[in-house]
Every structure is written in structure tokens, then in C-alpha cells.
């Protein structure tokens, strides 16, 4: 067991993105995981941070549904007309 003091919640949350992206050096990863093993609050923060990313991705993906692969006919006409006049 390490005698060193635990990193703070602030340090963990500030560099969380580097931890998730695997960009922390191994000794820092150990410190992060040591903190997480004793801090439920940061475990919840980490979990909800990841859920936030997933929610953002999925909520916006749904915006495509009403449009589908279709493009409004008047937009097609406007683009083709601009294309012809610009050539």
C-alpha cells in the first residue's frame, strides 16, 4: 500500500478526460484508481460523465430520423440552379 496522500477530487475531475482517453502516465493511473477505490462520489462522477457523452451522441443521432436520406425538393432545386448559374 502507498503511504502517499490520495489525489483530491479536484485533481481527478480536472484530468478525467486524459484518464478516459488513456493519456495519463502509468503512475498517475494508479493514483486515479486508488482515489476511485475509496471515493464513491468520484465513481459516480466518472459514470455520469460517460453517460453524458452517450446521451449527447444518441439524443442528436435521433435528429436525423425525421429527415432520413431525403433532402427537401426546393433545396435540391436551389442547389442545382446555383450550380448551373455558377458554371
Amino acid at each position: 500500500m502507498s503511504d502517499r496522500p490520495y489525489i483530491t477530487c479536484r485533481e481527478l475531475i480536472e484530468f478525467l478526460h486524459l484518464y478516459l482517453d488513456g493519456e495519463l502516465p502509468p503512475d498517475r493511473v494508479v493514483e486515479f484508481e486508488r482515489h476511485l477505490s475509496v471515493c464513491d462520489s468520484c465513481v459516480h462522477y466518472l459514470a455520469t460523465y460517460k453517460e453524458t457523452i452517450a446521451l449527447g451522441r444518441e439524443a442528436c443521432r435521433d435528429l436525423d430520423a425525421p429527415v432520413g436520406p431525403e433532402v427537401p425538393e426546393e433545396l435540391v432545386a436551389a442547389i442545382l440552379s446555383a450550380h448551373r448559374s455558377g458554371r
Binding site: L16, E58, A59, C60, A82
Partner: protein, 206 residues
């Protein structure tokens, strides 16, 4: 995707590019019809204004056509157009940005002098993203929360988490360093998390 379908798709795309370069009007129309809807969805996400979104898509097709000579045959037309429409949207957002943004700090976690969170402890949420998305109102709550982010943070979140650009690509599009993208994205996600928490946190039983 099987290798056969993939090679067929590549061949069809190479053929389409050759026809476009040859000035084939029908090939251009086909491109607009095939890709326009998806690009319009992207532009709507960034600009949140139907007319501007349509203008950005039009600009995208016209500038793509002019730049066809620079299209790398090793990449996909859809990916190339996706990048072009994003850049058209970012240019519009930049020209729109006249008033100062609200500071994001209010939406970030706050810490005490000892490094613990002020609202310690962070609560759990009522379920995973998948569970929460099963509720009818979740998508609308999340979209509204994204729209509440200051513009420069909303843009980086859209680029990285929604449009799935790499850090390097996002940095190029925004004209900032990769490190700046990483920091801004982290803050944007934290702020979004903070905005979503009141909706999704598990409340203790009375």
C-alpha cells in the same frame, strides 16, 4: 461490410467522381440527392436555423464541386462532404458571434479548499444512458441542454462527440491547438453533465 460490396462501392464512387469532374449535371444532382439530407441534419445541429442550414448545405455542394480536383480518391465522398459542411457551419457561427459568451464556470463542478466537491457527494443517476433514452422526454432534455452550452463549447462537443471528428480534425476546423480542443471538450462535457444532473439524478427516498 464484405470486401466485395466495399470494392463495388468504391468503384461506383470513383465513377461518380469521374462524371462530376467531367461536368455531368446528372451526377451532380445524384450527389445532392444522396448526400443532401444527411448534410442538412448536420447543418441544422450546428446552426439551429433552417434557412441558414440550407444555405450552408448549398455552399457545401458548390464549394465541393469547385474543389473536386483536390478530392483525394483514397477517401470517401461522404466523409469529404461532411467535413466541408461542418466548416461552412463553423464559418457561419464565427460570423454570428457578436455578443460575449456567458462564462461556463457556473456550470462546472465547484471545489472546496481541500479539493472536495462543494456538492459532495455526486449522486448516482437513475439509470444508464440506454435506460434513460427509453423515456420519451430524454432526447429533448439532452438536446435543450446542449443548446444551453456557450457557443464555443457547444461547437467542440458537436464536432467531437456527435460528428465524431478526431481531436486533430476538430483543432484544424476550429483553428486552435489539439490541447485546447481537449480542454474545451472536457469542460463542455462537464457542463452538460451538470445541466443533465437535476433531470436524471437518483433522489433519495423520503
Amino acid at each position: 461490410m464484405t470486401p466485395d460490396i466495399r470494392s463495388e462501392e468504391w468503384a461506383a464512387e470513383r465513377d461518380l467522381v469521374a462524371r462530376l469532374r467531367g461536368g455531368d449535371e446528372r451526377a451532380f444532382e445524384r450527389l445532392v440527392r444522396e448526400q443532401g439530407g444527411r448534410l442538412l441534419s448536420v447543418a441544422r445541429r450546428f446552426l439551429r436555423d433552417e434557412e441558414e442550414a440550407r444555405d450552408a448545405v448549398q455552399e457545401c455542394f458548390l464549394s465541393a464541386y469547385r474543389a473536386l480536383d483536390r478530392f483525394d480518391q483514397g477517401s470517401r465522398l461522404s466523409t469529404w462532404l461532411h467535413r466541408i459542411v461542418i466548416n461552412a457551419c463553423l464559418m457561419r457561427l464565427r460570423s454570428r458571434r457578436r455578443k460575449p459568451e456567458d462564462p461556463i464556470e457556473d456550470l462546472l463542478p465547484k471545489f472546496q479548499a481541500d479539493g472536495h466537491q462543494v456538492n459532495h457527494p455526486t449522486p448516482e443517476w437513475e439509470g444508464s444512458a440506454e435506460t434513460l433514452l427509453a423515456r420519451s422526454q430524454t432526447r429533448s432534455i439532452v438536446r435543450q441542454a446542449i443548446d444551453r452550452l456557450p457557443e464555443s463549447y457547444r461547437a467542440v462537443l458537436l464536432l467531437r462527440d456527435i460528428e465524431e471528428l478526431s481531436t486533430e480534425e476538430a483543432a484544424k476546423s476550429l483553428g486552435v491547438t489539439e490541447n485546447a480542443v481537449k480542454i474545451r471538450l472536457h469542460r463542455a462535457r462537464q457542463a452538460l453533465r451538470g445541466l443533465l444532473e437535476p433531470h436524471f439524478r437518483r433522489t433519495a427516498p423520503c
